[in-house]
């Protein structure tokens, strides 16, 4: 990819710049699409149409909303901590954008071939909870602070099952680099026709994926785990006091986070950029297509769940994590390790 860019751009910082904003472009276009999709999914699930006025079936609704948001006044509450209040949305987005470095978007594109790969993603996304606490505290609002507190508790708890399920995949792959993990899943070996994705590797991998998906739902603060911003009890949680583009950045972060966690799930379990039809429709560009398509399917499942399940209470949330997910993920880890030893 870098060589390809160097062929028509003057070498040096410009190449690095273009190289590093490719994920940003993908996130921005994806966010425009996903916010529209979320509203359409919500509408159709509740037997209504969703946005219909702006363009064909309301496709330009998000663009119109964005234009409105840019024009809004940037309000900082009088008693808020100005500096931290203004800083928090940027750290939030930086944390989720930083994680895209280690994700192989296609066979020709990965931000950095670092050896620690998925471990780095886990570490950098933990900055997100810090930024939410920062936003909640700096807003000087009880709802915001309560939302921030819940986030801290939730993220710290749900990080454990996420990391343990990732670890159980790492036992199988033997590497943390997501590019190598994806390359391992090339081909259609299982039963002659199933793609050699890790989810088909053993029955316990299916359980691992289930646990991983539930834990990432909580990490991304999606319904049924959206306690940090549960609007019926906390008004808007940590983003109560935010308006205009700063609120927009939080929204962008939320959607970027959904995509990020879906892509991690896709890379770890569903073959990443590999085509499901073996060598049919293969290559760097098709790879990016498959990767984003698989990611969007998981994002769609997240939206689907949002309009299906009711929100959990705080104690139910903690019970689910500490009493069910963590023991299950540890047992599953041991079982996968045993499977690896025997077969």
């Amino acid at each position: 990819m870098q060589q390809f860019l160097e062929s028509f751009l003057p070498a040096g910082p410009l190449v690095v710049f273009v190289f590093s904003i490719i994920p940003l472009m993908i996130i921005l276009v994806y966010a425009l699409f996903a916010i529209w999709l979320e509203r359409k999914v919500a509408g159709h699930m509740q037997d209504r149409l969703g946005p219909m006025r702006t363009g064909w079936h309301g496709w330009a609704q998000t663009i119109a909303d964005l234009l409105k948001m840019i024009q809004k006044e940037d309000i900082v509450p009088a008693k808020a901590d100005r500096f931290l209040f203004k800083l928090a949305p940027f750290i939030a987005f930086a944390a989720s954008y930083g994680a895209f470095v280690a994700i192989p978007l296609s066979s020709g594109y990965i931000g950095s071939m670092i050896d620690v790969g998925v471990f780095y993603i886990v570490a950098i996304t933990s900055l997100l909870s810090v930024s939410i606490i920062m936003a909640g505290w700096a807003s000087n609002n009880k709802w915001s602070l309560l939302g921030a507190m819940r986030t801290a508790a939730q993220t710290v708890s749900y990080e454990v099952p996420t990391v343990v399920t990732i670890l159980s995949v790492i036992i199988v792959t033997g590497t943390l680099n997501l590019m190598e993990v994806t390359e391992m899943q090339t081909g259609n070996a299982f039963l002659g026709f199933l793609p050699s994705w890790l989810i088909f590797h053993s029955p316990f991998m299916v359980i691992a994926f289930g646990l991983f998906f539930i834990a990432t739902l909580a990490e991304a603060h999606r319904v049924p785990f959206d306690l940090p911003e549960s609007e019926s009890e906390l008004v808007g949680g940590y983003q109560t006091e935010y308006s205009g583009m700063r609120w927009g950045l939080f929204m962008l972060t939320e959607y970027a986070d959904m995509l990020l966690l879906s892509l991690v799930g896709v890379t770890l379990f569903f073959g990443g950029w590999n085509s499901p039809f073996g060598s049919f429709m293969e290559g760097p560009l098709w790879g990016a297509f498959w990767m984003l398509l698989k990611g969007m399917i998981l994002v769609f499942v997240m939206m689907w769940l949002r309009w299906t399940l009711p929100r959990l209470r705080v104690d139910q949330l903690m019970n689910l994590c500490w009493k069910y997910l963590i023991p299950l993920s540890f047992v599953n880890l041991v079982l996968i390790a045993l499977w690896e030893m025997i077969f």
Binding site: D115, F119, A123, I133, L145, V156, T175, L176
Partner: protein, 183 residues
């Protein structure tokens, strides 16, 4: 000046500045957030020295874990949510004396040591190598650290569980008066 040196000095200024802010800030939450920048800056230093694993661990453990817990603790233990989280300066004279002595010692060590600069090269430390080392040559320290952490967890659970009254009433909302009686 190459890119490495520029990065080094920029982040060195960030680390020292935020560390100073952490110490001199009167607001304890500001101190905690300044600490975040110090710790994250140190992670960048490790990354600059090709110690990727250490950098990521620093970020995960200190910024993602310990800092969140510190913030959580500060916000939960202070009585007022916003106004009363202030720090005070106590023991001014002994503290000044000790820091002066320690500072002098550090400067003395820094001046007298014969520093040799190692040429920086892209490390051969891989995750696989690290894992093998941990499970062969450094097995005992690794296990001892694990046992220590387990003890700490059990201790924390014990301390947290001791104050709770026996669950007799099925309704959790009515346990708060009995809690006071036991205390």
């Amino acid at each position: 000046m190459d890119l490495f040196a520029i990065a080094f000095y920029v982040f060195a200024i960030l680390i020292i500045g935020s560390a100073a802010l952490m110490v001199f800030s009167k607001n304890i939450v500001h101190s905690a957030f300044a600490l975040m920048f110090t710790l994250a800056g140190l992670a960048i230093f490790y990354a600059l020295l090709y110690a990727g694993f250490v950098a990521v661990t620093q970020l995960l453990v200190y910024v993602g874990g310990i800092l969140v817990l510190i913030l959580f603790g500060v916000m939960l233990t202070t009585r007022g949510y916003f106004e009363k989280v202030r720090t005070r300066t106590v023991n001014l004279i002994p503290a000044t004396l000790f820091t002066a002595i320690i500072g002098l010692m550090l400067i003395l060590v820094f001046v007298t040591t014969d520093w040799t600069l190692m040429p920086l090269e892209e490390g051969e430390v891989t995750m696989t190598g690290l894992g093998e080392l941990l499970l062969t040559d450094f097995m005992l320290p690794f296990q001892v650290a694990g046992v220590l952490l387990l003890l700490a967890i059990i201790g924390a659970v014990l301390m947290a569980a001791r104050t709770r009254p026996p669950q007799q009433t099925p309704n959790p909302q009515q346990t708060s008066p009995t809690e006071k009686q036991q205390d």
